[in-house]
Amino acid sequence: MSILHSPIAGKHRSMGARMTHFSSWELPVSYSTIIAEHTAVRQSAGLFDISHLGRILVSGNAAADMLSKFVTSTPAALPVGSGRYTLITNDHAGIVDDLFIYRTKAAEFLLVPNASNTGKVLELLQAAARNATEHILVEDKTAGNAVFALQGPRAPEALVAAGGDPSQISSRYGISLQVLGGVEALISRSGYTGEDGFELYLFSGGAELLWDRILGSDEPRVVPCGLGARDTLRLEMGYPLWGQDIDTSTTPLEAGLMFAVDLDSGNFAGVQALRKQKSEGAQRKLSALMLKAGIPRAGCRIFLAGGRGGAGAEGEPVGIVTSGSFSPSLGRGIALGYISLDYASAGTELTVDIRGTRYPAQIVTKPLYKKENK
C-alpha cells in the first residue's frame, strides 16, 4: 500500500514537523509539542492540515434521494449552504462511517468521510449511482486537494486577517465559497475541537499560499497544529473517532449519536434494525470517563468501583476503553469507553485497569472539557 501525501507535504518537511502514518497518509503529529498546540487552540487559534479526509461530490436532481438510502440524516431537508454531521450504517445498524454532508447547491452535496472509509463510501455511492434511473454524478475530489481546519476562539479574527468573511457563515455548519488572497476556498463553520472555527476546502489549488497566509498573521498568532493535538482536543469533547470508538460493530444508539439520525422518517440501510434496538434498548453505552491519576488507553478493561466485577460473573469487567489519553486542558487522564447499560450513568464510580494497576474513574457528562473550565 503506497503512502499518500498531503498537497502541502513540502511545508511539513520545511517546518520540521514530526510525522506519522495514519490510514495510509503521512501526516504531522506535531510541529512543536502536542500540549503547546492543544493549548493554542483552546486559547487562541491553531491551523491543521486535514487533507487526508475524503471529499466526495454527489450531484444531480436525484442526488438527495439516492443519498437518503445511505446517510442517517435527511439530505433533502438540508438548506442550501448548510451541512450536518451524519452517519452511514449497514443493514445491522453498524456504523460504516461518520461524516459531514454539506448541501453546496440545490442538486450538489459534498460528503467528507474519514480517510480510512473514503474508498468504501465511494464504492457504495458509485454503485448506487450506476443503478439509478436518473443521472447522478459521484466524484472523488480527495487526491491533490487540500483541506485545512482553523480552530480556536480567535479563529474568526484569523479568518478576517487572511481575507475571509466569517459573517457569511455566521452559524455552525454553514458553508460558503470565499476567496482569500486570490485562493478560492469552500469554507464551513465546523470543526473537531469544540472551539469556534472553520474548515477550508480547496479545489482550485493555492494550498501552500493559503497555508502561509493564515500562519503569517501576527494578530492573532495562528499556531500550526498536528494530529496529536487534534486527538486530545476531540477526546476532551467526547467526540468519537471511527475505527476506535465507533465502527461496524457499534450502533448509533450505543454510541450516543442519535442526534445524527432521523429515525422516524429515515429510509437508510439499517433503519429497521435501529428502530428495533431503540424499542428494546441498547445493552451498552459509549461513556466519558475522568480519572484522578493514571492515563487510560484503548483496550483497558473497566470494572466497578473497588475493582468488583459486574453482575453475572465474579470479577468480570463492565466495560472497555476505546480511546484514552492525557487531557492537556484538564491535566488528567480521560477516556471514552463502552459500559454495560446498568452501570453507564453519569456519576458512577468505576475502576480502570491500566497495565495491571487499578485506578479510580468516574463517568462524566460530555463534553469532558466544559467552557466553565477556562
Binding site: 502536542i34 486527538d231 486530545t232 492525557f326 492537556p328
Partner: protein, 127 residues
Amino acid sequence: MSPDDRQYSNEHEWVRIEAGEATIGISDHAQDALGDIVFLQLPEVGQKVSAGESCGEIESVKSVSPMHSPISGTVTAVNQVAVDTPEIVNRDAYGEGWLFKLEAANASEVDGLMTGSEYEAFIEEQA
C-alpha cells in the same frame, strides 16, 4: 550535540559515572521523539536493576514507553522533582531531567555503551 561526559545505550538512555555513583537519564533525542512527558514511573530506592531490562515507564501524551537502565546496579536515589513535574525531562534531559541514580554492580558495563559521537551516528542511521 550529545554531551561527551557520559555514555549512551541503543535504547536512548545515558549514564554518567562520577565518584562511583551512576546517574541515568534519557537522551534529548528520546525526549523529542516521545513528545510531552506527562508521567514517570521510576524504580524504587533499593531496587536492583539489570542492564537492558525494563525498570519503569515513561508516559507521554500519546504513548507509554518502558524505561531501561543502561547498566546494572542498585537504585540509590530517584529524581522526585521529575516525578512531580515530568516536563523537566523534556526541558533538560541531560541536566535537571535525570531519572535515577545507581550504585553500579559492574563498572566495566559502560565499555559496551556508546560515546557522544557514536550515539550521534547511531541516531543518524536510524533516521
